[in-house]
Every structure is written in C-alpha cells, then in structure tokens.
Symmetry: C2
Subunit: 405 residues, 2 copies
Amino acid sequence: MPVGLGPLPVLHPVRGFRLGIASAGIKRAGRKDVVVMQAAPGSVIAGVFTRNAFCAAPVTLCRQRLAHAPQYLLVNTGNANAGTGKPGMQAALRTCEALAELTGVQAEQVLPFSTGVIGEILPADKIIAVLPQALADLDENHWAVAAEGIMTTDTLPKGCSRQVSIGGAQVTVTGISKGAGMIRPNMATMLGYVATDAKIAQPLLQQMLRTAADLSFNRITIDGDTSTNDSCMLIATGQADMLEITEHDSAEYRQLAEAVNTVMLELAQAIVRDGEGATKFVTIRVNGGATQGECLDVAYAVAHSPLIKTALFASDPNWGRILAAVGYAGVENLDVEKIDVYLDDVCITRHGGRAEEYTEEQGARVMAQAEISIRIELNRGRVSETLWTTDLSHEYVRINAEYRT
Amino acid sequence: MPVGLGPLPVLHPVRGFRLGIASAGIKRAGRKDVVVMQAAPGSVIAGVFTRNAFCAAPVTLCRQRLAHAPQYLLVNTGNANAGTGKPGMQAALRTCEALAELTGVQAEQVLPFSTGVIGEILPADKIIAVLPQALADLDENHWAVAAEGIMTTDTLPKGCSRQVSIGGAQVTVTGISKGAGMIRPNMATMLGYVATDAKIAQPLLQQMLRTAADLSFNRITIDGDTSTNDSCMLIATGQADMLEITEHDSAEYRQLAEAVNTVMLELAQAIVRDGEGATKFVTIRVNGGATQGECLDVAYAVAHSPLIKTALFASDPNWGRILAAVGYAGVENLDVEKIDVYLDDVCITRHGGRAEEYTEEQGARVMAQAEISIRIELNRGRVSETLWTTDLSHEYVRINAEYRT
C-alpha cells in the first residue's frame, strides 16, 4: 500500500507538448505499454541519466542525441533493452528510425526510453507497429493516461503540476514519473518526464534539471540499487508569452526553478511512497556536517541499513541501530559525543548517548506514524542533506523473491 | 537453519590457555553468560577491533590495554555496554578490577568484552558476583562450553581447531566465534578468540592476526552493518616446545600463519552459515581487478544488493541484478564489455551480455544449491578478492522486525 499517495492531481496541459499512448503487447496483450511524447519545434530538452556503468542501449542513445534538438520521446515498458549488446542497440535504433520516418524528423531527434525485463532484445517490430496509433493519440491533455502508460509494477500513477506567474506570463510545469530505481523487480526503472512552456536557453535548462534532480530523484533510495535505465527529462517548449530566460541569477530563473524543484520533488517522493512493500515514508535529515559528502554518507548509511529498515517496519524506536549506522558511515574523525538524533521532535540521543529525558513511549509514538523523520545533528559544520526512503518489509522480500517465478 | 554447519568438531586444548564459564543471569536466569579466559604468564596477545566510531566501552579499554601484557579476558553476553557513556565505562572498569583483585594481576591486564543489548548499563554487580565461579571453572578443556557461553542468538556454537608441526614441535591452534557482525538483532556482535601454544613475538602475532582477519572476519558480510563491539583476539601462550618465531619471512611463521588463517576462516564462515535467516552460503569472488579496492567495491556491491540477496533466497538466477550491481559499484572507467560472470562453473554473462550458450536451466541448477559461488571476471588487472555472504529471507525480516517486541 503506498504511503500517503492518492489519485492523480490535476495535471495542467503544457502548450506545445503532446502525449499519446498505444498498446504493443510487449509483455502482456492489451496493456498500454508505449508512450510517445512530442515537443513542438523550438523546444529545448535537458536530461540526466543513470550513473550505472551497465547503462541500457536507450540511455546511450539519449546521451548522444541530447545535443541534436530532440523532438520526440518514445517510451516502452515491459522490456528494458539492457544487457542486450549490439542487437539491443539495433532494435532501439530501428524504433527511433520508424518514428522519425512517420513524423518527418531526423532519427537523431527521437529519444528512446525502455523499462522492464533485462536481457531480452527489445521487440522492435511490435513497437513500430503501434507507432501510428500512438501518434494519432497525441494530445496536450493526455498527461494522466501517459502517467499510467509508463507504469510497470507501480501501484499508482504519479504526476504533479504547478502554475506560476513569471514576468506577467502564466507558466505551467507538469510532470509524471514511475517506479523507483531498482526497487522494482528485475530492474524496472525510475523515469521522470517534466515539461514546461517556459522559454529558456538549453544550457540553463540543463543546469536547472541537474540541480532539481540532485534535490529530488538523486535523494531517494529504497534499497541502494541503481538501475541501468534511470532517466529524467526536462522539456521547455517556449510557448509561454514571456521573454527567454538567459541568466542564471535572474528572478525569472529562480521562479521557474522553484516550480520545477517542487514538481520533481513531489514526483520523486511519490516513487518512495509507492516503494516496494513500503509501509513507511521516511525522511532522513543530516545537519551540521562539514561537507556535503559526509552528510550524504551518514544519510545513506542510515537509509540503507537493513537493521534500521526492519526496525522502521516494526515501528521499533531502536536508536542503537541508528547510532551504529552513523558510526560506520566512514566520517573522518567523527566525534561521537557531539551527535544528537531526533525522531521527529523527540530527542532520542544527545551527546552520543541515550537522551536522559527520552522514554521508549515517546519513540514508539513517532515510529507508529506512517511518515517519520530521522534527524541527525553532527554538530561539526554547517552543511545539511536530506534523503527519502522506506522501510524493509516482508512484502519487499516476497515481491523480489517471487518476481520471476 | 544454518547452512552446512554441524556440531562442534574436536577442539584441542591449548597449553597455557584455560576457559571457565558462569551464569550471571544478565538477561535470562540460568543462561551461561559469563566466560573468563586465562592466558598463562608469558603469553602474548594480539587484537583487532570494530572500525565503528561508536565503539563500545569494552572495545575502548581493550585497545588501551593490549600493550599491558593482558592475562585475562572477560566476556559477557546479554548486554553490549555500548552507547552507555561514562557510567558504562565505569561498569566495565569495575568488572575488570574485581577480576584483577581475585587473581592478583593488574586491572590493566584484564580485557573486557560485551555483547548483547545496546544502551543499557552493564550490570557489573551481577557479573562480579559470579567471577569466583568462572575462575573455579577454568580448564584447558573448556573450549566447547565456552563456545556456547559466548553465544547470543547464534543457533549453533562455532569452533575450529588445527594441529601442525612447526620445527619438530606439535603446535595447536584452537578458536571459537559468535554472532555475525550486526546481522544479529540489536547489535549483537562478532567475537572471535583464537589461541595457540606457539612461541612468537607479539608484533609478529599482531601482524599475523591482522592478515588473518583481513582474509576471514573482514571478508564476511550479511547486511553491511558493522557492530560497535566486534573484536577478534589471537593469543599465543608460548608453551609449545619450539624456538620463538621472530622473523616474518621464516618458514615457521608461514606454517603458523597458515594454521591461524585456516582456523579463522572457518570461524568466520561459520558465522555466515549461521547468519540470520540464512538459507544460502554464498562465495563472491572478483578476479582481474586493477586494485584491491575496486575488487572489494564490486564484491560488496553484489553482497549487499537486496535485489541479489532476495534472488538468492528465491534460487532465481537473475543475472541482470548481478550485472547492475557491478555497474554501480563505482569502478572508474569500467569497460562493461570485458566482464564475465559465473555461477559456480556456469558462465551466465560473457563480454557484458548474456552468454550465448547459457540456459535458464543451468542457472537454476546452481541457484538451487545451498552453497553457491558467484565469480566476476573484470579482466582489467591481476588482483582478486573473495567475500562470503548470505541471502535475504523472510526470516531475516521477521527476526529483525520482531526482536524487541
């Protein structure tokens, strides 16, 4: 059961950005498994991709093509086209070429995305056969159906939309996302697509996306596994009635960045809320670090500890496990006597030991909540970092153990 | 159910090393929870300890006292005396002083070890009260009962013994161990005690222990959590009829080292075999790395991936998850097309993709075994590393979620 995730909110259309879906029967007949997105000519596109050395063929193509004024995004579920070598690359190329031919663009202007089973060649013919259907379906109002079309084992579609006023013009930022990293069985993937009608130079859009991803998609973790296919795209169609944003330190840049950050954070958190077997939504905040790196090391050590994750599942305020994870995070010259730890507003550890006023009941009250924050005060500097994660439940083991059986 | 772990083998006595147990009722009345070990005067002692910054009070004391010709080791289960601040340190000091008084040694010559619940002050009085009982029980033949006396949630006692001929003298190496790192609920701890009657200079003994630990206790992992109390001790009583080993490059050093390595590896592997909820014993071998560091990064990425661990539990030859873990291990400039992966003797991945001749049946046959090896050939250098680990089962989640309820 997703934690605090409801039906899709209203997803405002973005002028100049259309979405269409089709059913190619890649894994199951009748399932909507192909999504085509079209960015009107004049759009600019930014992307960030998995750091996994074993990246899938479509990721390799996306990286190469980002500079070639892409106009179409072609997404399929049911097959990740990863670990498939040259035949996999050929299959990806063929689907792009087919879409290019149908639409009159260059093949380099089509970006492919695949998610699903690894190690099987992409059934290019099945996808190519339904491209006309997907193109006929293109519509600015199809965000919600596209959010469903990119789902794999997600239990709910994920979307978010904001409208802001920038320089007197109304600007829309709308996005959808799916399946958290490798928490999904068999390497299903984290995908995010966010579009805006704002007018902005491509290098600035790329910078905005990188910052937003570092505050959202790069700050969530369920099990520490990084997929071969993770991709997050930010598209700006430029059709809003505004001057182009060309300066990083302008008020307009900041206004747009704030909306993009908000949308991407909500999309990323939705992935955690719908995490495999998740029963808790956990915010891990590390304050007072000397460097960003050490704050992240501590936060990830806590987020990835199976002992802490099972304690969260059991609603057990086992502060010893949290201290131990901080202790082995590898922070240089860590003075454990300076460390305070809070569960929400309850101080459980002060100066590296159990807080005197702390009672097990206070901890149990916080742990019983579906949404919990763990705050670690290192008291050795001024840097902070925040991650979001889930617990480790019986259901996680069941899903991942039984997926292919 | 432990994987491939039977009853204790014969544990040969070590001349000059005696063990005695007692029941202090620390956590449960009647349970054997205190073990005293005595090394005869003239013995030398080496130790390696947890790298967790939150190390427990007894670990701090052991580190300080290693140079003070220790003669007694005092172990308690049921309470880790970790995260207990100054009162915890006082309690540890008091138990050592009491044992020193009873035996006529300096308090600095007593090394304390604690394992069990974290965050509660050690009940020093209960321990002190039974020290006479433990001392009266001291006997060279009490290895097996001591192996049971240091157990926490281990399901079986762990011990190993070897006898070798060094320079014409028969030399014995015998050891016991308990509870793997933080796989055990609530920070129970990995403890290992190995004694030999060999005659060897202390700096050489320390060097021998460090090497042996790096090949054994430092190469096992169940869940990546490092306890606050992990300790491994190597004691040499010098009572064998031999000349003292004083040279690192001597044949005698190598002969003794080989026996010590064997005993420690078996003790470490026993901990994995008895890992929490373990249904598989998994050897992860990384060959052809450029550096030891990158081999370990790859091996740990595979060993800690919850997706691989659940696939192991399910006996699912999910090679995509293995490739993905290798891909995100952070190896610089990794050429994925050079990578081969084997399950036992079955090549599942060649040149970074599914091996052509590989069939799912071959993989399933290996995965159905209780003991599995995963071999990763990086083909970029000449360094190798090996780790041992377990799967991630329903039972692991149950044990760790329900421990304190």
